[in-house]
């Protein structure tokens, strides 16, 4: 019977996969730090994982699998380096890692420095989010491309170029100096937010990338609990992710205020609420905290059975003041329509520049809704037509088409 051997091989394989996923970014962070070289670290780690798959089933899983992987990967990197230099051999260093389970004396999680490297100002904006997904979480370029409907070949080139820049410029794998930290941290926050927000297809890759974005934000919040915006980001993504199963029903998008709260992930909401309280206690409000607070108000409907639109209006007004994005302006107009009537919402929309809103789908969807509430079906029909023409996701399209069809009744 081969069953026993097969089972143990599968178990080992599963264990390697588990170590790889849980430790990937930490190991890349450690391996790449010395030479600022993510690409070489990835190749070496991939070799080490391969070797683990071939030797662990026979030799057994080492007591400290991460330390084992680091040692093998380091040896590979030294070999590669030696071959590249074609000079006298460089002695293999004794691995100098403290791979013990976390103790207070340990430096920050190496994934943290890696995140700062990925969102470094020398790296182009569009490369930062995919680079983070690859270097910290081990997603392949093909997986990332699938979730974002991007060209895998072009994305691979972008990632290769970004890694080459990191190496050539010897970008430090360290936390930025305190005076640079707020600006640099802002870039890290944006890149993590991008992991969640840029996804536009449904599918296993998109689901897993969004889940991992929540994890990245959580990791950052655990490591930097004194930064209120970091805590705000973590709360925001947790709130958004708590609704993953409620966002659509039978292929139709369901707007937040109509979602069945029983489909929400209440454990995640609880964690998000706690993070947000922790952020507010620091007394320095910011964009991500306010966005999270808006989501907290919506989440409270699970308890109270209603939405506090007045609170939302105050929060959106604060958000527009702090970070006047088109999304915030349109959100405020929508809420103003709820609180002060559809005409007030429409007036707020009319104040926006036509050139800016021409291709902004939420503007047209909101306008259509408010016009329909205001008893102007012909104008609402026109606005729905624009909104539908700018909608690229099938569930949102189905929702808008149903709303437009109701106008005729």
């Amino acid at each position: 019977m081969q069953g026993g051997g097969l089972t143990s091989a599968l178990t080992t394989e599963a264990r390697v996969a588990q170590v790889a996923r849980a430790s990937y970014g930490r190991l890349i962070g450690i391996l790449a730090a010395r030479g600022s070289d993510i690409a070489t670290a990835e190749d070496a780690l991939s070799d080490a994982l391969h070797q683990a798959l071939t030797t662990w089933p026979e030799a057994g899983i080492p007591d400290r699998p991460e330390a084992w992987l680091i040692r093998v990967a380091r040896n590979r990197m030294t070999d590669a380096h030696r071959r590249a230099l074609k000079t006298h051999p460089i002695p293999i260093e004794e691995h100098d890692l403290a791979m013990e389970p976390s103790s207070p004396s340990l430096p920050a999680d190496p994934r943290l420095a890696l995140m700062f490297v990925c969102a470094h100002p020398a790296i182009g904006h569009s490369a930062r989010t995919p680079l983070m997904l690859q270097a910290v979480l081990g997603f392949t370029a093909a997986d990332i491309a699938r979730a974002y409907v991007a060209s895998p070949a072009a994305l691979s080139k972008t990632l290769t170029r970004a890694k080459a820049r990191i190496k050539a410029n010897n970008i430090a794998f360290a936390l930025p100096e305190p005076q640079d930290r707020p600006a640099r941290l802002g870039e890290v926050i944006e890149a993590i937010y991008g992991c969640y927000a840029l996804v536009w297809t449904q599918g296993p890759e998109a689901d897993s990338i969004q889940r991992e974005a929540v994890f990245l934000a959580d990791l950052l919040a655990t490591e930097m609990p004194d930064d209120p915006e970091v805590l705000g980001l973590s709360a925001l993504l947790a709130f958004l992710h708590s609704r993953r199963d409620a966002r659509q029903v039978a292929g139709h998008y369901v707007p937040l205020s109509e979602q069945d709260t029983a489909r929400w992930d209440h454990g995640l909401i609880h964690a998000a609420d706690a993070r947000l309280k922790q952020a507010f206690a620091l007394g320095a409000p910011g964009r991500f905290q306010i966005e999270a607070a808006i989501q907290a108000v919506h989440a409270a409907r699970a308890q109270t059975g209603q939405t506090d639109w007045q609170a939302l209006l105050a929060l959106y007004t604060g958000l527009v003041h702090l970070a006047p994005t088109l999304g915030a302006e349109v959100g405020r107009a929508m809420v103003a329509g709820q609180v002060h009537g559809a005409q007030a919402g429409l007036a707020a929309l009319d104040a926006l520049s036509p050139a800016h809103v021409a291709r902004f789908q939420p503007y047209w969807a909101t306008r259509a809704h408010l016009l329909s509430e205001a008893g102007q079906p012909a104008a609402a029909e026109e606005a729905y037509r624009s909104a539908i023409s700018l909608t690229h996701e099938a569930p949102a399209r189905a929702f808008l088409m149903a709303a437009r069809a109701r106008l005729q009744n």
Partner: protein
């Protein structure tokens, strides 16, 4: 209204791609086509063989002149096209922004001149 997206890119950037790479590329374009179809705006598309395989035909004094190769040598070449049916240019631009080709090349949008679409 029909809008045609002309997809221009530099083929030398993709010279080293393996069959597996191309399969991944096609998968992503398949997803884009799927989104266009789900939205009910898809009219047609094609992925073209390289310009080195082109045949250019012109009539000179009543005689067909047939040349191997493209009519003009350029760095960025026409690699494919999409035709979509959307109400206006804003909707066309919004779809072109989502086109994978926009990330590594250029997407030229041309409205149909046939009218009465």
């Amino acid at each position: 209204m029909n809008y045609t997206f002309l997809l221009y890119s530099d083929p030398t950037k993709f010279a080293d791609m393996t069959a597996e790479d191309w399969a991944r590329e096609k998968e992503v374009y398949g997803a884009y086509i799927g989104a266009l179809q789900a939205a009910g705006v898809f009219v047609g598309t094609d992925w073209l063989q390289p310009t080195s395989t082109a045949t250019t035909v012109s009539m000179e004094n009543g005689t067909a002149r047939i040349q191997g190769g493209p009519f003009a040598e350029t760095v960025e070449t026409l690699g494919g096209y999409f035709i979509i049916d959307v109400p206006d240019l804003d909707a066309a631009i919004a779809w072109a922004e989502k086109c994978p080709a926009a990330q590594y090349g250029k997407v030229e949008i041309r409205a149909s001149a046939m009218g009465g679409a």
